[in-house]
Symmetry: C2
Subunit: 205 residues, 2 copies
Amino acid sequence: MKQVIPHDTIKRLALYLRSLRYLAKKKVEVISSQRLAERIYASPSQMRKDLAYFGEFGIRGVGYNVKKLIAEIESILKLKKKRKVALIGIGKLGTALLAYSGFEKFGFRISALFDNNSGKIGKKIFGLKIEDIARTKEVLKRERIKIGIITVPAADAQEVTDRLITSGIKAILNFTPRYLNIPEGIMINTVDMAIELESLTYYLP
Amino acid sequence: MKQVIPHDTIKRLALYLRSLRYLAKKKVEVISSQRLAERIYASPSQMRKDLAYFGEFGIRGVGYNVKKLIAEIESILKLKKKRKVALIGIGKLGTALLAYSGFEKFGFRISALFDNNSGKIGKKIFGLKIEDIARTKEVLKRERIKIGIITVPAADAQEVTDRLITSGIKAILNFTPRYLNIPEGIMINTVDMAIELESLTYYLP
DNA sequence: TGATGTGAATAACTTCACAGCG
DNA sequence: CGCTGTGAAGTTATTCACATCA
């Protein structure tokens, strides 16, 4: 009964959600699969299939109630409550992500910072104290943080990952250009900016 | 004859390449599909299929010559020469990317900066002058820049994209949380950090 | 009537398995 | 002999097409 849902379906749900929130702000009350799907360049049948994994949320002959569908997708993605997130590696990229308002807007709050550089440990940035990477276990357990964002140098990535996992982290957003070894039950999404750039040039004339 | 290559194949080629460069640095001269594929958690047959789109590069019974395969993949991905890149939107994220050494390491040089904020225009950062966004056409044509990285606010993303395309840009790395409308012949990769984060929580217990 | 929900059909991608060749 | 290269088989994802029902 409990089938595995394609990761792409999960990503598209997050994309539908973003569009739906935009529509709700514009006071749109009802939308068809046709019009919602075209906003993210997907097909209407794809959108309906994506939802069909989780139930029936539309009204035949009418479409989907925007507010209701927002609530349903938030529930599916477990986005109902705000999530605390840890950021590991407070270098250039880490600092940029800290300043990036995008996460906050989607209900994520970076609420713990870690680094291994003694020059940084103890300093405050954006109102948050940078903790010693050695203290992840203590801090993450106390704060009940389950999500980590890794922006450390590639060479440290696996060690940091292992440490986070023993500290109770269950999901990782990885910005390092490394494939990370993880046990069953841990989820990783990797954002590999260099690969995205390299794979672009293939399409140049 | 000329079939379409899956984008995932192109991305994996970039990943193989990264591993191969690492191996070359370690003085490894020959590698099997088995051992190269496992480095990026792909299957050996997948790796061979990926290469088979482009030709025969291995030696039966032996494996692949590391240096030769690097050259082949660089040629496929058109990475033989250094590429100049423009960065549009010199805010927090843009500045972080500018400081990020990762691009340079892979043969990309950010060599033009643009913003629409008159307080920023004319200032120098990392030795580069921030140009007025209105001057993209002039600068990009002169510098023969074909790749743009967009780190502007989401609301400006489509306008900036249109402007880049009329200025001769052929490939875009998009960091804004927007689906961008583009004509045939232009390639976009989107790095949507908020979506990556939102799609992670689904897997939390 | 009109858009959803969904099996069936199709297409795309991945793995298998082995022939081919250094 | 061993590993590549590759058709065939298997699997997964997407689209089609229409029955269904507000």
